[in-house]
C-alpha cells in the first residue's frame, strides 16, 4: 500500500522525522517498508501491512497512529476521535438489507444539488501521489476518505434510481443467478447467488457488487446532481470469496475482506459529506443508518509481571503506562492485574493480554531484549527412531559408494491427486520412488564422464503416498555408463542392499535380480520391528565443502595416454595436465595403467586419462579442445623420458 509523507505530515503539528528514519523505525516496530521513493517534493512509502493489521492500517490515519506511537508525537487531530454528531434522518432514502449476516451496517446519505466537476488541485495531488487517477470531485472525495481512514465508500447518481412517493430504497441483497453486471470499468461479470449486490429497491436494478465495485447503472457523471453515498460494513468472507470468484480485486475489496470496524462507517460518512459539500456544493438531505448490532467495547487486563514473563524484560508499570499513553489507550488501575486497558473501536486485533504485550514489546524495542539461555532440561532429548536408523542407512550406503538424491514428490501418475497442481506432470503424489530413480539414473549416466564415474549408484529416502496413507520408503539404483563391464550392476545393487540390512541390524538379500537394477523398500514396516536406538551415531563426514556452480554448457571428452619412467609419479603428471589444461579442464580420470619393458631394458608405465573440458560461459568448440590438447601433449613430451602415445 502506498502512503505519502506529506499526507502523513498533515496529521502532525510537529515536523516529522525524515522519510528514511520513518521507514527504518516502521520496519522494525510496525510494518515493513518495501520501497521508499522520492516523487516531486514528496516521498512515497510502499508499506506491507500484514493480515492482522489490514483492518485498521490500510490508511494514512493508521500509519500516522503508528508513527505517533513510535516517535512519541501526538496527532494534532485524529479523525476517529472527533465527536460524532448524528446525521439528520433522511425522509427520502431508506435501506433494506435482505442478508443482515452479510451486511452488518449500511449508512446511506442523500446529498442534493452537487456540481460534479474536476477536483481541486490539492486533492488531485494527494491522489496522484499514490498513483491514483483523478476522476471527478465526487469519486475523488470517496477515494480520498478511503485512503485517509481506511473505509471504502461509494457514490451513486440518485436520479438513476426510481423514487416512489419521493423515496429511494437502497437494497442489499443476493445477485440473481447468472445476471450480467457491467462494472464502472466497462468489464462484464456473470454473477452467482453467492454475490452480495447493492440494488435499487424499487426497480430491482443492480447498482454495484457490494464492497467490491460499482456499476455503470448509477455512475456519477457530469450530469449528476443528487447523489447517494454508501458507507457500509460487509461480511469479510463473502467479500473475499466474491473477489476470488470474479478475479476482481479492488482497494475496496482488499479493505473489506480484512474486516474493518463497522464503527468506522459513521466517521467516514461524516468526513466524506463534509468534503463533498466543500468541493462540490450541495446540501445534505439526510441519512439512514441500518446498524442493528453495535460493536462491543473491549477492556483487557495488563500486568507488568505478564509483560516481563513473555518478553524477558524487567519493565515496571510506569514503563508500560508510558507506552499505552503513546498509543492513546485509556487505562485504569486494577487490583488484580495492575491495569485494565480500554481498547479503541478500530483495533479489532487487540482482544487478549498477549496482543497488548506485543504492542508494548514492539514500541519498547525488541533490540532491548536481554540475552538469556533457556533453562536446561533434566532429561536428555529422546532419540528419533526413524532418524537414527535412516542416518545409519545413509552412512552405510555412502560407504558403499552410493550418493543420495532428493527428487520431487509430485509425479504425472499416482492415486492421490492434487486439486491445484503447478503443472500437469506434477498432478499426483508419488506412489513410489522407483520412477524418479529411473529418471535420475538415466540423466546422471549422461554426465558420467563429467562426474568421473563408470557406475552411477544412487539412493533416496522419502515419503510415498497411497490411499492407505503415507509411507517412508528407500530406493537404491545402479546404472553402468559407457558400456562399463568390470563391475556388474546387479552385484553393486546387492552390495548396497546388504549394507542397508547391516545398518538396520537385519538380513536383507535380493532373492532375484532386480529389474532395471533398482529396488525399493518400505522402511515403515521394517522400522516397526526394530529395537529403539540408544543414540545417533553419525559416521564422520567432511565439513569443509566448497560448492562451484554447475555449468549449463556441454562438456567435451578427450583421452590421453603417456608413458612415464618409474621414477616419475602420477602427481607430477596430474600437475602438468592441470597446468596446461587450465580451468577449462574440469575433470581428469585415470582409466587405464600398464607397464611395459622396452627393448632397451627400460621400464615405463603408461597412464591413460579421460579429460573433460567445459566452460562456464560458453560452449567449447572442438578447435579449442584440440588446441588445449596440443598444449598438453607438448608439455608432457617436454619432460625427459616421457612419451605421449
Amino acid at each position: 500500500m502506498k502512503v505519502s509523507h506529506k499526507w502523513l505530515q498533515d496529521y502532525f503539528d510537529k515536523k516529522l522525522p525524515d522519510p528514511k528514519t520513518i521507514a527504518h523505525e516502521l520496519t522494525f516496530k510496525a510494518f515493513e517498508i518495501e520501497e521508499l521513493t522520492e516523487k516531486g517534493d514528496d516521498w512515497i512509502f510502499d508499506v506491507k501491512v500484514l493480515p492482522n493489521r489490514a483492518h485498521d492500517s490500510l490508511s494514512h490515519r493508521g500509519l500516522a497512529k503508528e508513527i505517533s506511537a513510535i516517535f512519541d508525537l501526538p496527532l494534532s487531530d485524529d479523525p476517529l476521535r472527533r465527536p460524532l454528531s448524528e446525521l439528520p434522518a433522511s425522509q427520502a432514502l431508506s435501506i433494506a438489507i435482505d442478508n443482515p449476516d452479510l451486511c452488518e451496517r449500511y449508512v446511506g446519505a442523500l446529498v442534493k444539488g452537487v456540481t460534479v466537476g474536476p477536483s481541486p488541485d490539492w486533492l488531485k495531488t494527494r491522489l496522484e501521489a499514490l498513483g491514483q487517477r483523478s476522476i471527478n470531485n465526487i469519486v475523488d472525495a470517496t477515494n480520498y476518505v478511503m485512503y485517509d481512514i481506511g473505509q471504502p465508500l461509494h457514490a451513486f447518481d440518485a436520479r438513476r434510481l426510481v423514487a416512489k412517493s419521493s423515496e429511494y430504497v437502497i437494497q442489499v441483497r443476493s445477485a440473481v443467478k447468472n445476471e450480467v453486471f457491467t462494472a464502472l470499468s466497462g468489464a462484464e461479470y456473470a454473477l452467482t447467488e453467492d454475490t452480495l449486490v447493492i440494488g435499487d429497491g424499487h426497480s430491482g436494478h443492480t447498482l454495484g457488487i457490494a464492497g467490491v465495485k460499482g456499476g455503470t447503472a448509477a455512475e456519477i457523471t457530469s450530469q449528476t446532481s443528487d447523489i447517494i453515498i454508501e458507507s457500509a460494513h460487509f461480511n469479510p468472507v463473502s467479500i473475499r470469496k466474491t473477489a476470488q470468484r470474479l478475479k476482481l480485486w479492488t482497494d475496496a475489496s482488499q479493505r473489506f475482506q480484512n474486516d474493518p470496524s463497522p464503527e468506522l462507517a459513521a466517521y467516514a460518512m461524516r468526513q466524506v459529506i463534509d468534503l463533498i459539500l466543500k468541493i462540490a456544493g450541495g446540501t445534505l438531505e439526510g441519512a439512514a443508518d441500518s446498524y442493528p448490532k453495535k460493536q462491543e467495547v473491549y477492556a483487557i487486563p495488563l500486568s507488568a509481571a505478564r509483560v516481563n514473563a513473555l518478553l524477558g524484560t524487567s519493565m515496571i508499570q510506569s514503563d508500560i503506562e508510558a507506552i499505552l499513553k503513546r498509543f492513546g489507550f485509556a487505562y485504569e488501575p486494577d487490583a488484580e492485574s495492575g491495569l485494565i486497558v480500554s481498547i479503541p473501536f478500530e483495533r479489532l486485533d487487540l482482544r487478549i493480554e498477549e496482543d497488548l504485550i506485543e504492542e508494548i514489546g514492539r514500541i519498547y524495542g525488541y533490540n532491548k531484549i536481554p540475552a538469556e539461555m533457556p533453562p536446561a532440561l533434566a532429561v536428555k532429548p529422546a532419540i528419533n527412531k526413524s532418524f537414527a536408523y535412516t542416518s545409519a542407512v545413509r552412512d552405510a550406503l555412502v560407504a558403499q559408494g552410493f550418493s543420495e538424491i532428493f527428487t520431487s514428490s509430485f509425479r504425472p501418475t499416482g492415486s492421490i491427486e492434487i486439486e491445484n497442481p503447478l503443472t500437469d506432470d506434477k498432478r499426483f503424489l508419488r506412489e513410489n520412488l522407483s520412477e524418479s530413480m529411473k529418471d535420475a539414473l538415466a540423466s546422471n549416466v549422461r554426465n558420467a564422464d563429467l562426474l568421473g564415474l563408470d557406475q552411477i549408484k544412487l539412493f533416496e529416502i522419502s515419503a510415498t503416498f497411497a490411499e492407505e496413507g503415507e509411507t517412508l520408503s528407500l530406493v537404491l539404483g545402479v546404472a553402468n555408463a559407457n558400456g562399463f563391464k568390470k563391475i556388474k550392476e546387479a552385484d553393486s545393487l546387492d552390495e548396497g542392499f546388504r549394507a542397508v540390512g547391516t545398518a538396520l541390524g537385519i538380513e536383507l538379500t535380493l532373492d532375484e535380480p532386480a529389474p532395471d537394477n533398482l529396488f525399493e523398500l518400505n522402511l515403515n514396516s521394517i522400522l516397526e520391528d526394530l529395537p529403539d536406538p540408544r543414540g545417533y551415531y553419525f559416521a564422520p563426514y567432511p565439513s569443509d565443502q566448497r560448492y562451484a556452480p554447475i555449468s549449463a554448457y556441454p562438456f567435451l571428452i578427450r583421452d590421453i595416454a603417456v608413458f612415464i619412467p618409474d621414477e616419475d609419479s602420477t602427481s607430477d603428471l596430474e600437475r602438468l595436465l592441470r597446468g596446461a589444461g587450465s580451468e577449462l579442464l574440469v575433470r581428469m580420470t585415470l582409466f587405464d595403467t600398464f607397464t611395459k619393458t622396452f627393448p632397451d631394458g627400460t621400464k615405463k608405465t603408461s597412464f591413460a586419462y579421460r579429460l573433460i573440458f567445459q566452460a562456464h560461459d560458453r560452449t567449447l568448440t572442438d578447435e579449442e579442445a584440440t588446441a588445449i590438447m596440443e598444449k598438453i601433449t607438448a608439455a608432457l613430451n617436454a619432460q625427459s623420458g616421457w612419451q605421449v602415445r
Partner: protein, 242 residues
C-alpha cells in the same frame, strides 16, 4: 583405481548439523505427516477459516478431501503438544510444500526447520539466545547476532521476523546480504495461547516460543548454491560436490 566415494545430499548434511546443535540444547527431533489435515495445518494454528491469513501460504489442496500438503512444519508442534506434557523442547525439520511458481529461489517443495520450547518460564529473551547459539554454530562464526522485527503469524503473539548478521561480511555489507549487513532468516514468536489451548496445554501455566525457517535457504547461503531447484533434480553434479 580408488573405490567410488558416495556423497550425502547437502540437505541431509545440514539436517544432521541442525539436529546435533539443537541436541546440545536438549531439543528432540519430532516428525509428522507431509500430507496433513487442514485442521493441523491451519485451524489448530489459529488461522481463521476463509481468512486472508491463509493466503500468506499458497497451499496445495488434495482433491476430494479437506487435507493439504503441509505448508509448514508447524503442525508437528501441535501434534507433539497433544501427546507430550511440558516441558517441551523439539525441532521438526521436514519437507513442506507451497503452490508457487518455481524459480532460482522458489521450489514447490522444500525443507523447513521448526522449533518449539514450552515451559513454565519461557520468554523472547530465551528465544533470542537460542537462535544466536544456533546460527553461531551452524555458520561457525562467533560474531553472529540476531535482531527481531515486528511481524505477524497467526500462531504466535508477539510475532517477529528474525534477521542474522551476514556471515560472509560480518555485517559490513556485501553481495550476499545486498549491502545491508543482515540476512532475513526466520519467523518466530511466543506461541499463541489459542494454539496452546487447542493442543491441550494450559496457557495460564505454560508459555512457549516457536521459530521456523527454510533449511534450503540456510544451505544455499552456507554453501553458495545458486538455484534451489538443483537440490531436487537428482543431479550428482551438485550432490557429489559435498
Amino acid at each position: 583405481m580408488e573405490p567410488q566415494q558416495g556423497h550425502l545430499h547437502p540437505l541431509s548434511i545440514m539436517i544432521r548439523d541442525i539436529v546435533a546443535i539443537f541436541g546440545e540444547l536438549g531439543f528432540a527431533f519430532a516428525e509428522g505427516p507431509e500430507l496433513e489435515s487442514g485442521y493441523y495445518n491451519f485451524d489448530a494454528l489459529n488461522f481463521p477459516k476463509d481468512h486472508p491469513a491463509r493466503d500468506m501460504q499458497d497451499t496445495f489442496f488434495i482433491k476430494g478431501r479437506t487435507d493439504v500438503m503441509r505448508t509448514h512444519t508447524s503442525p508437528v508442534q501441535v501434534r507433539y503438544m497433544e501427546s507430550h506434557k511440558p516441558p517441551i523442547r523439539i525441532i521438526a525439520p521436514g519437507k513442506v510444500f507451497r503452490n508457487e511458481a518455481t524459480d532460482a529461489t522458489h521450489e514447490a517443495q522444500f525443507y523447513q526447520i521448526e522449533g518449539l520450547a514450552v515451559d513454565e518460564h519461557m520468554t523472547l529473551a530465551h528465544l533470542k539466545t537460542t537462535l544466536e547459539f544456533f546460527f553461531k554454530k551452524l555458520f561457525k562464526k562467533d560474531d553472529i547476532s540476531i535482531r527481531f522485527r515486528s511481524s505477524f503469524f497467526p500462531f504466535v503473539e508477539p510475532g517477529v521476523e528474525v534477521d542474522m548478521t551476514c556471515f560472509k561480511c560480518s555485517g559490513g555489507g556485501c553481495g550476499t546480504c545486498k549491502g545491508t549487513g543482515w540476512i532475513e532468516i526466520m519467523g518466530a514468536g511466543m506461541v499463541h495461547p489459542n494454539v496452546l489451548k487447542a493442543a491441550g496445554v494450559d496457557p495460564d501455566r505454560y508459555q512457549g516460543f516457536a521459530f521456523g525457517g527454510g533449511i534450503d535457504r540456510l544451505a544455499m547461503l552456507k554453501y553458495g548454491i545458486e538455484d534451489v531447484r538443483l537440490l531436487y533434480s537428482g543431479d550428482l553434479r551438485l550432490v557429489n560436490q559435498f
